[in-house]
Symmetry: none
Subunit: 220 residues, 2 copies
Amino acid sequence: MNELLYIIEDDEGVQEVYESAFEDLYRIKIFGNGKDFFDTFANEKPDLIIVDIMLPDMDGYKIISDIRKRDERIPIIVVSAKTDELSFVKGLNKGADDYMAKPFSIMELLARVKAGLRRSNLLVKHQGDFIIDKNNFRILYKNTDLMLTPKEFRLFSYMLSSNGRTIPREELFREIWGDEFIGETRTLDMHVAELRGKLSAAGANNVIQTVRGIGYKVES
Amino acid sequence: MNELLYIIEDDEGVQEVYESAFEDLYRIKIFGNGKDFFDTFANEKPDLIIVDIMLPDMDGYKIISDIRKRDERIPIIVVSAKTDELSFVKGLNKGADDYMAKPFSIMELLARVKAGLRRSNLLVKHQGDFIIDKNNFRILYKNTDLMLTPKEFRLFSYMLSSNGRTIPREELFREIWGDEFIGETRTLDMHVAELRGKLSAAGANNVIQTVRGIGYKVES
DNA sequence: AGCGAATTGTAAAAAAACTGTAAGCGTGAG
DNA sequence: CTCACGCTTACAGTTTTTTTACAATTCGCT
């Protein structure tokens, strides 16, 4: 559900800063050098990449252009301890989208990352006839707003994002309700009923199917 | 490679100041009046324009709006010897991006120009009918200063700058109040109420919409 | 096919959460 | 001192979420 960030940074102190900053907000993987990064990058693409320019085994600029050779659009944020503009300009010319000087504030970091994700349109996701608009916490079905409440929004976007897989009730509880695991109650069913109501009101029928004994499934 | 600046300024003494200030940094062309400027402007577009408001043959304001008719995005910096705020406000409303009072320091000039070339760092930002003036911590709506307090200014400029996105309350707390995130209090609502009051007093209605359970949204 | 337990759907009521607004307090600048 | 500003408290009006209670459905088993 959360966006996945790759961070290339060798300083362990700074690594910790990243970890605490993104905790609970995004999923992150931190690489201490360029090689580890590219090994993983070959198999899995993140939603955004943060690169420190000064690295032990590889030039940060080279990393940026290598990333760009393999992928045109993933947002890249350059980070550098150098205060001079030149190093940033160079990074931007290699294909980075944004830059930050060390030391940076957590707030600034979060803002940049969010901006990067927005730019790449990740906050608006198309899923069949549905559009999940995380900017405005709405879900549209063929251009009509389903007018979901916050909980419904979270529930249904989770369902939509799990391509046709049957999602166990337990998983939904865990994801949407978290630890406050609710024992015996019809809460989930109620929300599903609400969703079904709003869906069919918008002309979308049989979107949420129940898989008895397991959970629910959303046709992709 | 160097950026090209056009400067409209009749005073020869001031012209020399510009020349020495920009020497080696940017290419500049200085015009003593509006006619010369537009003759050249028809054929070649600069990266930034500096306009003195008091000119012999033509009203500086008229120049600004004429430029804007022909080009939407070239940054324009207004310069005036008038110390009153009104002339600047007028310039901004005609489409200028920034302003400077004479006499100005070379450093200030360079900073403004640099900021202008890098639109993102501009101290004056146009956002729909609003003008965010970070020089003086004001926000203008169609010629009128909203007279915001510092906190209101920070809050509303943040809201304005997030193009139509729904901003969660949490984010507003984080951005405006920082880490002193106190649990439940109506502080944010109060400031929003204040803002709404001042907005509608200025004739701007329904600018801040509340998105229940999430936060607020400012229509783009 | 019929029965019963487990599971799911639904309506209504209850509880909780959320927002707007009024009133008042403390503080610091002028 | 007085006033503007930022914040808090209290409460009312709504909306959202959960609970309760019961109906309906499914499935294994005889």
